[in-house]
Every structure is written in C-alpha cells, then in structure tokens.
Point group: C2
Chain length 270, copies 2
DNA sequence: GCTTTACGGTGGAAC
DNA sequence: GCTGTCCGTCGGAAC
C-alpha cells in the first residue's frame, strides 16, 4: 500500500518538474521568435469555427461583454473591476498591423481583450490559433482546472451574455492560442495531454462497466431472493392454510394422499 | 447506460423522500418527549471521552473559544459575529436543572454554546450524548458534509484553539447528540448510516485493490519491455559489433563456426 | 485521532 | 455543444 502512494507521489513530482522545465522553454521560445505554435489539429470536440464571435456581433449593443483588470488603487485585497468592451482604452490611430497578414484593419475585441493584433479575416482563416472556446470546452479539451482558468494574466477572458438565457451566468470565452500554450506548459506537450485525456476516457469507461456489472448482479440477486421468498410463501400456504382433501391411493390401498400438499396417511378401517 | 443513471436517480429521490419523512418524525419525537436517543454504541473511531473538554480547561484563559450567532442588525447578507465564551450572555441565577440528574451546577460552556443544561458529572457519565467530536470526526463518523456542518442552527460549534499549534485553524467541536440526531434525519436511521459507511469502506478497498493490481501489471509490463530491449541490444551487439572468430566444427569437418554469434560457414580448402 | 483547500466527476438549476 | 456548486477523496500546508 505504501508503495502505491509513493508511486503516485513520484509521478506528481516528475510532472511538476517537467512542468517547470517546459514553462521556461515555452516562454523563451515564444518571446524570442514569433514562430507559430504547433499546427497539429486539435478537434477533440470544440469547434474551430468562430460561432461565438458571430453571436456577439448580433448582440453587441446590449452585451455586458468585458474583461477583468487590476484596479489602479492598490488595496490590500487585489480589487478587480469589470470593464465593458467600450470602456477598455485603446488607440484607434495606432499603426499596429495584423500579425498574420499585416492588414491595418484589426479586430478591436481581440486587440482589447486578448491583446492580440489580428484582423477579422485571419481570425477566420486560422482557427487553430484564433477560435474561441467556452470555459467548459477549455476544461474538457485542455484539461485545465478552475483555478488555472482563473489566471486572467495568461488567460484573458471575454465575458458575454449566456446564449441560452441572458439572465444566466455569463459565458466565458478563451482564445485557443492561449489555452494551448498553457496546456503545453502544464502537461509537457500536446502528446502528454492526449495521453492524459485517453487515460481519463478509459477510466470513465471502466467505471461505467463496473457500475453496470454491479447493477446487473444486484438485480439478479434481488430477483433470486424474491423468487425464493415466493416459493417459501407458496410452500407455507400449501402446508398450513388448507384442509386436507384425501383421496385413496390405488383401489385396494389403505393409504390416502392429500391432493394439495401430497401428505400421505394410513387409513385404519374399522 | 440510461438505466444505470435512472437507478441512481431513483435511489437519490427515495433517499430524499425518506429524509423528509424522517425529519418530521424525528423533530416531533424530540419536541414531544424528552426520551433519550438510541443508546446503541457508536464507537467507530471517535472516542467517547471528554478529552477535548479537558484540554480546554487548561487553556481557558487565552482561548478564543466562541460560537457564531446571528447579528442583531438585519443586513441583507446575514452578518455573523463570533462571540467568545465570556461574551455569551446567560443568567447565572437561573434555577435551570441538569436534564439528567437535576443538579443545579450546570456546565456553563455546554449551556452557552450548545444550549444544553447538563452538569459536568453527567457529561462524563453519558458520552453517548455529551461527548465532543472534532469536525473531521463528525464527517468520518456520521458522514456529514461541510455544508451540513455549517448549519449553526442545528449544529452549534464550540471553537477552540488548534491543539497542534495555536496559530493554525481553530478546532471545531460538535456535540454528539446533535450530530447523531442530524445523521439520523439525513440517512434515515443509524442502520442506514452504517450501511453507507460499509458501502464506502468496501469501495475504498476495491479502489485500492484495483490500483495495486494496475501498478503490478504496469511494473511487469515495463520489466518485460526492458528485458526485450536488453535482449535486442545484446543480439545487435553480437551480430554487428564483432569480428567473427571461427573455429572448426569437429576435426575432419570443413565447416567453421563463430564462437560469438554462432555463424557457420563452409571453408573451401585449396 | 486538526483544518482548509484542490481536484475530478457529476447532475441539476438558472446569477 | 452554458456555468456554478456540490460531493467524495486525498495529500499537503500551517490561517
Ligand atoms: Zn490578417
Ligand atoms: Zn447531571
């Protein structure tokens, strides 16, 4: 037993070590060169489309879209204030260019919320980097936790009204590029992430199987008990709750047998 | 698959139904008569002693012992204020008697915190009702959740400095009588509670076994792979990285065999 | 036999 | 392909 726990521990420690190393490496790589991230297709479930964005365009007016940033005043508890998209300052006369095609017609939301200068056309043509994922998708696809998804520094969030009902909790949108970078640091690479994903899938499957087997066994057991009870009751009914109706066995015999319970008695003839 | 989930659902619903019924019954029973709760021994792990109390007596002076009660001012969020034991008001000239032995010398802490008039002697002689359990013990023994343990109305708490280190989080003490009543309502009875306890124990055991088996299998697999790798390397070494050292097979033979890799060649003698 | 928190998994509600 | 919260389990930290 102690050995299992130790194995677990070792694994955790190794993971963390790997994590730290990868973090350094990844950070360096990204800041040194602007080389694109791995282009390997990640279509586990989340779409590569920009549906969420489209949705926003139609409801831009009454949306409470915004993101969270540090409050200027340095109070002991780090106060955060939600700014609407319009309240986020930016310089419209900037000569910044799209990082993909060098266009000057940048997408304002991406620039303001995600700090990524990119044009609408490139957002749609490079979903591997610029598609948006909801928080739930982010958790499912990249196996990030709530705590990690709360890191607004590295994972800026575009809050939008819930598409199901606007009174519900805001929908939280993340940029795929950010999630992928984070996940690579966390898991040590996309391959390791896929491994963990597979591990959990098989575990889920095994859990299901066990549950199913158990329920079948339970049902069978119950059925058997009920059958046994039924038989017992029937036996009792026959043996106790009737008047014997004797009939002679054969013609010459002095024996009689009850037609219900089979009780056989000798008849003394006087 | 859908069947399993439904079974689970049914079970939950049944539990809740039972819960509601039991709640009514239990509440009535307790308010109508002062009959003692089930005296069945519950010594799963927590002691029946009053150790925690003893501890308190020696450190009463600098303890921040207290309990939480509603703030008089009705603000929208229910403000709560922690009162120290001395700050809790009570009437020392009260003629209230010990509910067990009718003594007038009541335990002040029990009266103030738990609202139970009982004397020190009876606290020690009836641990089934008056022994104290830490929060962790309460969870372990009565299978209550954090949320339930937060119900200060039904489960008053006596906070005391942590016995391990006074700078750590306060120790939270509950009265066994309260916990037991709550657990009976929650689970539908002490028997059902024991059933659930047993269920979890076996589950834990099964989990452990599975984990162990898995780790053994993993180890075995790894060992096998390593062994295979070792052999392969050895084979390669032998077949590639050596000069053949031929020796004649038998005396008259014109065949020769390498002493390292076993390669056999015919030797043409001129 | 000290407590809080974090995590993974899950249904149900509706911020 | 919506989000919070809760539950059970667990190991580590130190309120
Ligand atoms: Zn572009
Ligand atoms: Zn008494």
């Amino acid at each position: 037993m102690a050995r299992e726990l130790t194995d677990d521990q070792k694994q955790k420690i190794e993971e963390n070590r790997k994590k730290a190393l990868e973090r350094l490496k990844a950070t360096k790589a990204r800041t040194d060169t602007a080389k694109p991230p791995e282009q390997k297709k990640r279509l586990r479930g989340s779409k590569m489309s920009t549906n969420y964005y489209e949705y926003n365009l139609t409801t831009m007016r009454d949306t409470k879209a915004g993101f969270i940033e540090e409050d200027p005043q340095k109070s002991p508890e780090k106060r955060r204030k939600i700014l609407t998209l319009d309240e986020i300052p930016y310089d419209p006369s900037s000569t910044q260019k799209c990082r993909e095609c060098a266009s000057l017609d940048l997408d304002v939301a991406y620039l303001k919320v995600f700090k990524v200068p990119v044009c609408r056309k490139c957002i749609e043509s490079v979903p591997d980097k610029y598609s948006l994922l909801t928080k739930t998708e982010a958790k499912d696809d990249y196996l990030l936790t709530d705590g990690e998804l709360r890191d607004r520094e590295r994972l800026p969030v575009w809050e939008k009204p819930n598409p199901h009902k606007h009174t519900w909790n805001n929908m939280l949108l993340y940029l795929r590029e950010h999630l992928e970078a984070f996940a690579i640091e966390k898991w040590g690479g996309l391959e390791e992430l896929d491994g963990e994903f597979a591990r959990r899938e098989t575990e889920k499957q095994e859990r299901k199987e066990r549950k199913y087997k158990k329920s079948v066994a339970e049902l069978r057991k119950r059925t058997r008990v009920e059958e046994w009870e039924r038989k017992r009751r029937e036996r009792l009914r026959i043996e106790q709750a009737h008047e014997h109706t004797f009939e002679a066995i054969g013609d010459d015999s002095c024996e009689q047998k009850c037609t219900i319970c089979g009780l056989t008695v000798e008849v003394e003839e006087f």
